[in-house]
Amino acid sequence: MSDYLDHIKQVIINRRKFIAGATAVAAAGMVGFLREGGPILTPEVFPDKWWSVPNYKPAQSPVAILKAADYEKNLVDIITHGIALCGLEVRDKVIMLKPNLVEFAQGRPINTNPKVVGAAIEAFLRLDAKQVLVGEGAGHRRDTELLVEASGLGDILREFKTGFVDLNLDDLTAVKPKSHFMGAPELYFSKTLLSVDLFVSMPKLKTHHWVGATLGMKNLFGCVPGAVYGWPKNFLHWCGIQESILDLAATLRPGFTIVDGIVGMEGDGPINGTARQVGAIIFGTDVVAVDSTCARLMGIDPEKVGYIHAAGRFLGNVDPAHILQRGEPIDALIQHFQLIDRFKKLAVKTQAS
């Protein structure tokens, strides 16, 4: 109980500092794009949030972009190739794949396509992984049975005899966050998730109406157990969406990311946007580098997405000079996703614009 009260006090203190910080930013005329999602969380503006921040940035981060025209052809080969291009070793490892399974609406590309999940299961097993699990803690509906079946993931799990871990309901372990943007002294996570050898974030390439884009890092919201924090996981919004993304990414640090960019979502994502054919799957060992690359593929400047910019300070690489681009050249695949009005300023400047 005292921990909890301490946490509440800390959150209140942080909110006060946040307001003070935001005021300072405004006063200094430094607000590039203040919005609901919050300002860019730079250490210069919010020094209180940057205490004891670790440095996980690798010198170089391999990111592979491979073409995949649809969900029917050669997905296992493509994913196997993507894993190899990034130099990931999976032999004898217990792996958990974490797709994005937020909500179900017929015909809308909200979730990671189950066929990509199935192909990843097969690819990892082909590469001699010891076991592959699928884990998700859906954010809106607590009826996991309904979501898994309606989305088509249930058929994939049965086909590959793959275990599903409901991250909302699993046994829990309390973890001290590796960074402190949220102000939470501890976070609870699935015990199974924390026990695997390799945790793979498998998001969908989508825009997001609060933070601009939802990719490998934002996908980690589904790791927060609903049985503790509820449906939706409103606690994370109260702590700050960007702050929560950073703490979750720093604490869980997925070892690999596979982004379903075959069909993405543009406009008013992550639920109500429209389909956008991109025809690519994106891979990488550094989730920040993958998210940055995906943002560029969507025609978004990752440095303007608050949480990606901040993650580039300590978690991974945003600067293309430190990203080892493999597979398809990115320039050939860049598209310009429709963005809602408040995020049009995130778009990469083009000659036309």
Binding site: M1, R141, L146, L169, G226, N234
Partner: protein, 296 residues
């Protein structure tokens, strides 16, 4: 009935040595599944009472000094579990748990969600109901569960019912204010920015149970019609379990719900303890804690 016996047997086998149940067999005991299973076993029959009492013994040990319940001893948040625990204590009716129930009732009574920082049209940010956690916004499911829990407590035990009536009124305002355009309820957001969001079966069933005192209200009628549609399109153990309980609480035809639930139990692989406990509860004819006294 055969399914009820099977569910009770499965749940007896799934009981942890400490007396509680996890969400899934073999997992650590947690308050929510234990609460619904206790209620299911309470109305199932005498043979289950010994198993139920071990569950109640575990449950009462989980109560905090302030009367609240949390997800499990290792989680510092999730106050929303106090409502299911209170319903279990009230539904089982063991005299030795009366003081625990009173403390839980007062905990639910004083729990208040935060008001949203962003103003959202029609969300009634002026009223605070119940959230999943105390440091967040009001949401449909914890608010409905808390309303049920407050209704389950005997009014005659209170010197004054004014605070109780006020909290019930606040909860009902929030539930009504968050109704979706299609007539049902989701987690508590009828629209996000410029578009309408649709209903889900479980929150719709919970909302109908919570608002059952106004059965003649057109909103309840529309909500029930929406729930009936979702029975056909979105069946699951949870949705059919809560839908069956809603049908009984609202005195609507429950046979179609029960029949579909029974068929679903037979084909469901990998059901959770939560699924089974709720189904066992739903298949009983008597559901006293889910049936409120008429509006005065």
């Amino acid at each position: 009935m055969a399914s009820s016996v099977r569910l009770a047997n499965d749940l007896t086998l799934a009981q942890n040595p400490d007396g509680g149940w996890g969400y899934l067999p073999g997992k650590h005991s947690r308050v929510e599944p234990t609460a619904w299973i206790i209620l299911g076993l309470s109305v199932h029959g005498d043979a289950s009472l010994k198993v139920r009492d071990r569950g109640l013994d575990w449950l009462t040990k989980m109560q905090q000094a302030d009367g609240s319940f949390r997800s499990a001893p290792d989680t510092g948040n999730s106050l929303w579990m106090t409502a299911p625990a209170l319903l279990a204590l009230q539904g089982s009716g063991r005299t030795q748990d009366a003081s625990a129930a009173t403390a839980a009732f007062h905990s639910v009574l004083k729990q208040k969600a935060q008001t949203p920082r962003l103003k959202m049209t029609g969300m009634r940010s002026d009223v605070e109901a119940w959230g999943w956690t105390t440091d967040a916004f009001s949401w449909i499911e914890p608010t409905c569960l808390s309303l049920m829990a407050l209704h389950s407590y005997p009014r005659e035990k209170l010197q004054s019912t004014s605070e109780l009536d006020l909290r019930i009124k606040e909860g009902e305002i929030i539930v009504r204010a968050r109704r979706c355009n299609d007539g049902g309820w989701n987690y508590g957001n009828f629209g996000n920015r410029d578009y309408a969001l649709g209903a889900f079966p479980v929150p719709t069933a919970l909302a109908l149970i919570a608002l059952q005192r106004d059965t003649g209200d057109p909103q309840i009628k529309q909500g029930w019609e929406r729930l009936e549609q979702m029975r056909k399109t979105e069946p699951s153990m949870l949705s059919l379990g809560w839908g069956t309980i809603a049908a009984k609480a609202l005195k609507r035809p429950s046979d179609p719900w029960e029949n579909q639930l029974l068929a679903h139990i037979d084909k469901r692989v990998g059901a959770t303890n939560l699924d089974r406990g709720l189904a066992l509860l739903a298949l009983n004819d008597q559901l006293p804690v889910f049936t409120f006294a008429p509006r005065l």
